[in-house]
Point group: C2
């Protein structure tokens, strides 16, 4: 092991490959197969593994990647999949990443218990962290896990409410999405021996990046190029999903536009998406979203800049941030 | 704090009171109330808090009760309630201890997410354990938590199978019920500074006691005195629940008795309970169950006897064991 501070830095893509290999091991015992086989199936519908890689990147910004970082990254990925598994039950989602969800392929009880045990196995990986690091990592992981549940609850509550404000929506998004990205980076930084201040900057980098990411997500669902986006936009509009765009439109629309929006949401006509998009454009919600996204992205950049490490070491994280938020798919 | 080894030992009843007071604090933040209020409601339908008290007793057998023991006891009680909350969803149970279950009083999504967050809060309590003790406690807690999920899965799988053996049933009961009692005692012993060997004896004491407890449970549901039992016996029989008694009867019955049992289970006649009980008695399943319970209770006693601590210190645990397994309600 070298203590040279100028050790080789991996790109995001390289770390994705490295993590994929580390993660590609059995995480569960063989029996009862009725409990664990669905978990293996779900982990096999591989996502982008962004969160565990953020943990490795947070670590590598300050030091060579520590064995503990792989344990925590694995715990984070298992935790993330636990939330998806249970969210799919709650949202009655038939598909996840184009594949049948666990409660659809098996049944709800299986999805419930497989999710539970996946969370517990996440903690089994956490417990492998060096004793001197464990309490701090556990504390951050637990708080984040609790906040993600709170975010899901707010999201479900908001579906039943007509008076959700943009501020409340941002608070929900932070809990549901941002804090896990933030905590992934921060746990990596902690394990890399970063100072309290640098750890905080990493957390804030992730938190702001997460919000920018969600704005981008909402934006693409409405204004994305179908060819690059890979699917017909307007899904959120058809479902009356509360998004950055809809909440903003409801706030700034004139009485006539607002009435028309509410009518479209109520009546679900054939040309709903087209007409809602027209109102969004009239209210300049598209330009507003691009500006808002940019401002969160800039805040994220400022936080990363404030980390007391030479600029060249930050290149991979900057590239990842731009990739995540400028993506068109 | 005194280091006198002959410090005061609390009775089970006293520890129930002490734990109840410690546990009677807010475990959750205020918001979102839609997430946490159901958790408060469920914890309010108080059970006997046997598991956390076993942790305190396991601790006090070796030392004065350590602050860490209260953290672990609280984590264990929250974990236990998490499992009940999710089991109630899976079993579609309308009532728990005579009160509406969370998924009945609120809805399934709430019960699911409230259970999730209760498990995470359990880990928040665990994280308060002294750093030098944390890894060992985490390791045992995690393994136990995973095993309890496995037990629930086997239990659900067995409902759909006609060929469950007594051996498989005992394995399931160990996972679903015994290991948490065993781990409660062992975590207490670990925190009390007990040797590896003594910790193992404590675990085995709890494991055997748990099986004896379940035999008693099955026995009372069939042969219990309705006045002492508090409800009409025969619930398990009416539901064709696989119990120690039914599985044994199916193993030892002659072809005619077995055919009659299967017919009763199939046809559910008015006098089903009465007739099944008659077959149980003909097969001497009642005497067999009493003997089997006694043999597990004796194994439990042997394990406790093997703990290298003066006999008088073991009195509260012996009383608890006899109370649990000799109870008629």
């Amino acid at each position: 092991m070298s203590f040279d501070f100028n050790f080789y830095m991996h790109s995001f893509k390289e770390l994705v490959g490295i993590f994929a290999e580390k993660f590609n091991v059995p995480h569960f015992p063989a029996q009862p197969a009725t409990l664990y086989e669905p978990g293996i199936y779900f982990l096999g519908i591989a996502g982008k593994r962004i969160r565990p890689v953020l943990c490795l990147m947070g670590n590598e910004l300050f030091d060579e990647i520590h064995a503990d970082a792989y344990h925590v990254a694995t715990a984070i990925e298992l935790f993330h999949n636990f939330t998806l598994l249970h969210d799919d039950i709650m949202d009655k989602a038939p598909l996840r990443r184009g594949f049948a969800t666990v409660h659809t392929k098996y049944n709800e009880n299986t999805a419930l218990l497989t999710g539970d045990v996946m969370l517990i196995v996440a903690y089994e990986y956490l417990a492998k962290v060096s004793p001197q690091m464990l309490p701090r990592i556990m504390h951050l992981f637990n708080r984040t896990a609790r906040e993600v549940c709170e975010g899901q609850q707010w999201d479900m509550d908001f579906e039943k409410r007509d008076n959700v404000t943009l501020e409340e929506y941002i608070h929900m998004i932070q809990l549901k999405t941002s804090v896990l990205l933030a905590a992934s980076l921060k746990t990596g930084a902690i394990l890399g021996g970063a100072s309290e201040g640098n750890c905080l900057h990493m957390y804030e980098f992730g938190r702001n990046l997460g919000i920018a990411f969600q704005i981008q997500d909402d934006y693409l669902d409405a204004f994305g190029d179908p060819e690059k986006f890979g699917k017909e936009p307007g899904g959120d509009i058809r479902q009356n999903k509360k998004t950055f765009l809809l909440l903003r439109a409801l706030e700034v629309a004139n009485p006539q536009q607002k009435q028309e929006l509410l009518r479209l949401m109520q009546e679900n006509p054939e040309d709903k998406v087209e007409k809602v998009l027209a109102i969004f454009r009239e209210c300049q919600v598209d330009a507003w979203a691009r500006t808002l996204k940019q401002s969160y992205l800039e805040k994220a950049h400022q936080e990363l800049e404030a980390v007391a490490v030479t600029g060249t070491r930050k290149q991979p994280l900057l590239e990842l941030a731009d990739f995540l938020v400028a993506r068109e798919h």
